[in-house]
Symmetry: D2
Subunit: 337 residues, 4 copies
C-alpha cells in the first residue's frame, strides 16, 4: 500500500476538516464522502476537491473495495453500528469521540474491531496539540520526576445551542471527556475513582436538560497521582485550555495559545488580545497531526497513538462523574459494570 484510500462518513464541520487535512497528505486519498443530506453544496464542495463519490448511503463506502479506511464523523448514535460494519468489512477506522454514550455498546464496538484485526483510532485530537504533546514528552522523559498531580483548566468560550445540549450526553460525556483523556495521557496511569461536583451557573437552560454548565472533577489514579479538572460552558475571555503537571522534581505547565504576541501599554494598563477563540483555531494543527498519524499507522502498520481502549476509559470516567454528582460521593470505576 503506498496510499491510504479513505471514505468519510458524515460531512458536517468535523468531517470536512478531516477531508481537507487528508487532501494535503501525499499518503492519503479521499475516495468518497457520505452524508444523510447529500446537498448541492456538498456536491460542489466534493467536486472542487476531486472527491469522486458523494452518496447518502454509508454502506456504499463500507462496501467499496477501493477504500482502505473509514472516518466516522456522523452523529454519536451511529458510531457503534458503523464501527461494527466497517470492522467486519476489514476497514481501518478513525472515529470521533465518544464512541457511544453506553459503555457496553462501546465494548461491543471494540470487540468487533479486535475480532477483525483492524485499527481503530479515537478522535482525541488534543493529544496532538503542540503544547500538550510537548508537555507529555517532558513528563514522559521524567523531567519533573514522578507525577503527583495533573491540573486541567478546560472552559469553552460559549455554550452550545439548546438543541445541541439536549442530545449532547451532558457536560461530562460531551465536553469533559477530552479532559478525562488528557488526564490519563499525562498521568500515564489508569483512573480508580472519580468525584464530581457541579452546578448551573452560566445559563438555566442546562437545568432544563438535567445538565450542568460548571463542573469540578477529581480523579485518583492507580499510581497514587491525582487529577483535578474544572469545566465551564462559558469563559467570557475565550477558550481556556491549560494543563499543569506537578511532580517530585518540578512542575510543567502549558498555557493558552494567543493569536499574536502584541502587548499594548498605556495609562490604563498593559493589555493583550484574548486567547485563540475556540477549538477550530486552537486545535487546527492538532487535527492535521492526528490524521497524519492515523494514516501513518495504517500505511506502515505502526501502533496507533490513541486506541479504542482510550475511548472506552474516557467514557467510563464520564459515567462515573455523572454518577458521582447524582450520589454526592466518589465513585470507583470498578463499581461500573
Amino acid at each position: 500500500m503506498s496510499k491510504v484510500r479513505v471514505g468519510i462518513i458524515g460531512a458536517g464541520r468535523i468531517g470536512k476538516i478531516h477531508a481537507d487535512n487528508l487532501l494535503r497528505m501525499a499518503e492519503a486519498e479521499v475516495v468518497a464522502i457520505s452524508d444523510l443530506f447529500a446537498s448541492e453544496e456538498l456536491m460542489a464542495w466534493a467536486s472542487a476537491r476531486g472527491i469522486g463519490i458523494v452518496t447518502t448511503d454509508s454502506t456504499e463506502l463500507i462496501g467499496n473495495p477501493d477504500i482502505d479506511a473509514i472516518f466516522i464523523c456522523s452523529s454519536t448514535d451511529t458510531h457503534v453500528p458503523l464501527i461494527v460494519q466497517a470492522a467486519e468489512a476489514g476497514k481501518h477506522i478513525f472515529c470521533e469521540k465518544p464512541v457511544s454514550m453506553d459503555v457496553n455498546r462501546t465494548r461491543e464496538a471494540l470487540h468487533a474491531v479486535e475480532k477483525a484485526g483492524v485499527k481503530l483510532q479515537i478522535g482525541f485530537n488534543r493529544r496532538f496539540d503542540h503544547n500538550f504533546k510537548r508537555l507529555r514528552e517532558l513528563v514522559g522523559q521524567g523531567r519533573i520526576g514522578e507525577t503527583h498531580l495533573v491540573k486541567i483548566t478546560s472552559r469553552d468560550p460559549n455554550p452550545p445551542s439548546p438543541e445541541y445540549i439536549k442530545v449532547s450526553g451532558g457536560i461530562f460525556m460531551d465536553m469533559a471527556i477530552h479532559d478525562f483523556d488528557m488526564a490519563r495521557f499525562m498521568a500515564g496511569s489508569e483512573v480508580e475513582s472519580v468525584f464530581a461536583q457541579g452546578g448551573v451557573l452560566v445559563d438555566p437552560v442546562f437545568a432544563e436538560y438535567d445538565d450542568l454548565d460548571t463542573a469540578i472533577t477529581t480523579l485518583t489514579f492507580a499510581n497514587g497521582a491525582f487529577a483535578v479538572i474544572d469545566n465551564s460552558r462559558r469563559a467570557a475571555y475565550g477558550y481556556d485550555q491549560r494543563v499543569e503537571v506537578f511532580g517530585s522534581k518540578g512542575a510543567a505547565s502549558a498555557d493558552n495559545d494567543y493569536p499574536n504576541t502584541v502587548v499594548v501599554s498605556d495609562e490604563a494598563g498593559v493589555v493583550r488580545d484574548k486567547p485563540l477563540h475556540f477549538f477550530l483555531e486552537r486545535y487546527n494543527e492538532a487535527y492535521v497531526e492526528e490524521t497524519r498519524m492515523f494514516i501513518d499507522s495504517v500505511l506502515h502498520n505502526r501502533p496507533l497513538p490513541v486506541e479504542g481502549f482510550d475511548g472506552l476509559q474516557a467514557e467510563l470516567i464520564a459515567m462515573a462523574a455523572k454518577q458521582s454528582v447524582k450520589l454526592g460521593r466518589p465513585v470507583k470505576l470498578s463499581e461500573l459494570a
Copy 2:
C-alpha cells in the same frame, strides 16, 4: 490613645518578625516580650531594639496596665488560655493561626473576646499580600462578574521537620488553613461542604504521623461557587502560591512573585530564576501590612480586616477536610457539632 503599646508573647521567628514590623511604626510601641526561654540572645535582641521588658512569664504582660494590645505568637496549645486571659484583662489581641485545633475551644476564646468587647485579629497574613489584595479588590468590584470558581495552588518548597509534623495538627490544620481562609476571602461566601483527598507522595515520614503531604480539597459555597485547592509539602521549584478566580464576566489570576525579572536566552532555552523561596520572602510585606492594619484598627476603633470568626471558619473547614479523607465522602460543615 496616640500609640498602641504592645506586648508580644512568644519570641520565635514569627514573634520577632511582628516585633520588628511594629518597631517601624510611629503608631506602635513594643513595651515587652515574653518567652518560656528568655535567653541571653533574646535579651541582647530586645536591648538592641529598646524593648524594656523581657520575661518568661506571659501573665506579667497581660497584667501590665501600660500594655494595650497582646500579640500571641506562642505555640498553638497556649492560644486559647492566653486569648481568654488577655480578653478578661481588656487587652486587644492579635493571634497567630490557628486559634486552636479544637473548634469548641476556639469558640470559647471567641466568646471571651466578645464578652470583653476587645478586638481579636487572626494572623491570616496572605490577605495582605500585594497580589491577593489586588485580586480580591478586582473581584469585589465585580470586575469578573459573579464568582464561579476559586482555584488555589499552595505548595511549600520543603517539608517541615518530623518534630514539627508531629505537633502540626496535620496538613489541613497547619498548612491548608491559610488556603481555606483565602478561598472564603475570594468567594465572599461561606463554605457549605468539603471534600478532601490526599496521599503521602513526598516523604513516608508523613504516614508515620498519620498525616498527608499532598492534598486536593474542593469546597462548595452557599452562593453556589466552588473552590479547588491543591497542597503539597514539597515543590522542587520553590514556594508556589497562586490564586485564580473565574466569574461570569471573566477571570483574574495572581501569579507567583520572583526575585527578579531577568530572563536568559541561550541554546538550551529561555530561563528565569525560581519564585521567591518561602513565606518569609514572599509574604514579607504582607506581615508588615497586617500589623499596620491591626494597629490602625485598635488606634482608631476601625473594623478589623480578619476577625476571630474567620479563624473559626477556617478551622471548621480544616476539620471537615480531615473527616472527609477519613470517611471518603464530602462532609458538610453543618455536620460538625
Copy 3:
C-alpha cells in the same frame, strides 16, 4: 478572470514555498516553473503538484499567453531584467527582495512597471506576520498616539555560508533591508537620514568580504519619529524578531513566537523552549498571506500591500547605511543621487 495563472521563475527554496502556497488557493493556478537547473528532482516535484511546464528558459514563461503573473524568485542580479521583460509582456509581478543592489537599476525596473501599468509586489513578507500586522493595525488606529520611536530587534540564529555572504550585498542590503521596510511600515513616514555602525563580532569571515555581522542603525523620519534597529548574524538562542513602537499615548510591542507555551519549573529555575528557529518557521503563515494578498490584488484590481516604491525606499536606506558606516557620519537619503 476567475483565477490568476502563475509562472514561477526560480525553483529554489523560496520559489517552492510560493508554489506550494499558491497551490492551496482556489483563486490561483501554477502553470509553469523555470529554473536554470531543471533537474530530475524538480521534474518529479512539479509533476507531483500537477505543474505542467518545467523549463530552463524563463522567457518561455514570460511569453506564455496563458500566464497572468510572474513570481521572480531567481538570484538578485536577474530581478531587473526579468521585471522589465515581464512588465513589457503585460504580466503582473511578484518579486523577491531586494529588487537590485543598485537603486538606479531598481528605478529602471519601476519605470518599466509603471509604463506597462502592471502590478509589482515586493516580497517584504514580514508585513504579513500575525504579530507585526496586529502591531501596525493598533498603531494605525492611533492606539498609542503619535509615533515617537520604532525599535526593531532582528537577529538570525546562524550566519549564512561564506558563498552566500560573498554575493549577499552585505548585512544592510541582504538582512536589514527587511527591517528598514518594517520601520517605514510602522512609522508611516519616510526616512530622512540614516546613521549606521557595526562590527565583526560573530565570525571573522565577514571581514574577508568587507561585510559586518553586527549592526546598529538609527533612522530619522520626516514626521520627527526615530527608529533603532539592531542586527546580528548570530543569536545563540534562535531567531529574534521583535518590534516595539513608542508613542505619545503608550507603547505597543510584539514578542517572538515560540513553538509551544510549555514552561518547566524545577530546582534550577523556570525554563521554556527557544523561539521558533528561523524565518521558514516564524514567517510560514506570512508567506501564505503575502501570496494570498497578491493574488487578491491582481484578481480584483485592488491596491497592492507592498509596492515597488517600498522596495526602492528600503534599498535607499540600505545604501545610506552602508555609506554611513564608511563615512562615520549620518547620511541623508537626499544625498544619494
Copy 4:
C-alpha cells in the same frame, strides 16, 4: 569604628530617603542634617528620628569631628565645593549624581578626594536594583559569552516641571546619565564614541530651554561592543526601565517591575496593571542597598561599588552626547579636553 556616623547635606526628597535608609542600619548613625531652609517641618522630622543636629550651615557638619561620612544631597552646583571641603576634612563622601555639569570641575573634586585618601561613592543607585544587579552578575559570569550589545530603555512617566528643566543640565546630563553608567556597568568596558539624536516630541517647553525630551544614543566601547539607549521624558504607561544584553552565547534581559502579578481576562482582552510608577517605587530597595554598601565599604575599608571615576565617565558621555546632537555627527570621548 563600629558605626559610621553620618551627616547629611540637603534635606530634600533624596536626602530624607537616604536618612531613613541609614536609620534602619545598625552600622550607621545619622548625627546631623543641614539644609538651607531648616524649617519647622524639618525640625519635627529630625526630632522624630532622633537626629540631634539640624542646621542651615553645611560647614558645621563637615567640621564636626563626630561625623565620619558626608552625604551630599544638595543641588548640583554645590557638589564640587562640598566634596572638596569634605575631602579636606577627611570625611568619606557619598554624592548624588552628577558630580557637576563641568567635567573639569568634576576632575577637580576627584583630585581632592584622591589627595585626601577618602572614599567617594556616586549615587548611581540603579546598579543596585535587584534586576540589573542580577543581569550584571550573569553577564559577569560569562553566561552569555562576550558582550556584543547593551540595549537600554529608559523612559520617565512624566516630564519634570519647567523650573526643574531649566536647571537640570538637559536630558543627557540629568536623565540619561544613569543609563550611560548602566551601559558601562553592563559592557564592562569604556566608551570610545557617542552618537546622539533627539527631538522635542513630548512638550514644546523643552525647546524653550534648548533641551530635548526624546533621545536616542549609541555608544561604542573599547572592547568592540555597542550600546543603544532610548530616552523619553514621558511614557504614558509608567516608568519604563529595561535592559537587554546580547552576547556571543545568548542574551539576558531585565523587564520592568510591576506592583502585582494579577492578570484579568475578559471579553476585551488580557490586562495587568502598569509598571511601578516612578523611581521612588521602582528603586526603593536599590537606594537601601547602595547606602548599605557605602556604609559597609567605609566600615570595613572595602572597595566602593561606584566611584568618582564612574561619575566622571558618565558626565563625559553626557557631554559627548550633547555635542553630538549639536554637530550632527559621532563624537569621540578623546575629543573632549
